[in-house]
Amino acid sequence: MAVEEKYLDKLAGPVAEAGKCLLFLFRMLLGIRFSGSQILTVLQQTYLIGARSLVIIMICGFFVGMVLSLQAINALEQFGASDQVSLLVGKSLFRELGPVLTALLFAGRAGTSVTAEIGLMKATNQIEAMELMAIDPIQRIALPRFVAGVISVPLLTAMFNALAILGSVVFSIGVMDLDAGIFWSKLQTGVYFGKDFVGGLWKSVVFGGTISLVAVYFGYSARPTGAGVGTATTNTVVLSSVLVLIFDFIMTSFLT
């Protein structure tokens, strides 16, 4: 009994935190107004956390496409099926690797900066100043960054996929001298727009929402000290990466 209570106590902390996080999400969603200034702030944040992540996403996408083709061709060659490479690359990329890798990169690049920014705003009394000016900081600070994340991740995923296909083209056709016509025709006939590509994008919407929620919540609830902001930033990367992989499995098992 005592052992059970000990475990229950340990469980109570994370459960309470998850509850607070969900309440935080509801408070954010209740603040949606579709006003001009809110849309403008969302666009600004989409630029800052989305567009500014483009370069790293594009570079990574390109090399993931190349290495995927390299491994696929090596394996398929043994069965004389190396012309199937575009099918393998397309399916694995659109369904899994694109959304998941983009989400993990986004958590490292943008999630951390959002947590650190909000945490520092708290440490320098900016959040308190806002409350005293009767401005809701959740609506003004957290909401635009959350929405920007939900918008950015699917767009970045599409960009990642495009660059990965380019990487695959460069390696398979340019380096390994596979036939371009076969490459494109296999991709067109074997990979489905709705099931594979759009299915992957839906996942990335969920990943974007998860990472952004974790990032804004940890920033907002960070202890207002240097160490507190550091811990919150680390927690953002760790928790959002783990959640992305868990949600990926759950969605894949139910949606496909």
Partner: protein
Amino acid sequence: MEDSKAKVRRSDTPLIRIRDLVFRRGRTTILDGVSMDIPKGSIVAFMGPSGVGKTTILRLISGQLRPDEGTIEIGGKIISSMSYAELKRFRRNFGVLLQDGALFTDLTVFENIATPVREHTNLPEPLIRRLVMSKLSAVGLGGIEEKMPHELSGGMARRVAFARAVVLDPAIMLYDEPMTGLDPIAVSTVRTLMRETNDALGLTSIVVTHNVNQMRELVDYCYIIVAAKIAGEGPPEELTASTEAGVNQFMNGRVEGPIPFHYKPPGAPWGLLD
């Protein structure tokens, strides 16, 4: 002009009435039975050693914290019984200047000052621009509107924060250590701004500070808080000459006195340091 200023300062109508205020944090009593009347048009300081609960009073007045006992009444309305929405509306009457200015680091100087205006009014953009620029030139900083907060010196940032605090012409100004970390010229500038704005607009200002010298020339009335209670009150010059041991120790910066050097945790069993 001088007469009318004096009249405002001496006004007997209390705008803020605090009665038997008790506030506890865990087992520690931060404020214990504090009562005071703050007259309209005056500049009042809460002074005391660091960590004594001065900022807590400011947070209780602005409704960020709720008292455990007692009431705070502003203009006839009791703060602790207001709903969140009422409190949000009521806070539009406050202008706040926090330690370090607390400018929004992601916005330009112009947008910093315009934020409360955009949030609480539906003024057209040209009017917002005129309002912001007039406040900015009133604090002597016309022409820096496109700069970011990190490009400003400490004194300039504090003046921008001041312009932001007064942009909606509040009735009550709350200052939390408004002059910390400023050079002597910036201190004088901020002090002059505080006094002149208060008198010109008929505001009521509350300043929380531990800096005795900076407050002597500025405030009309002081409350000295020691060990959760008001140890002394009165105009600054009277308090300097006070014979009350705690007030005298604080106002004259002495080490010896009833305010102890050693921190004693609440409920500590040992009496070695007594």
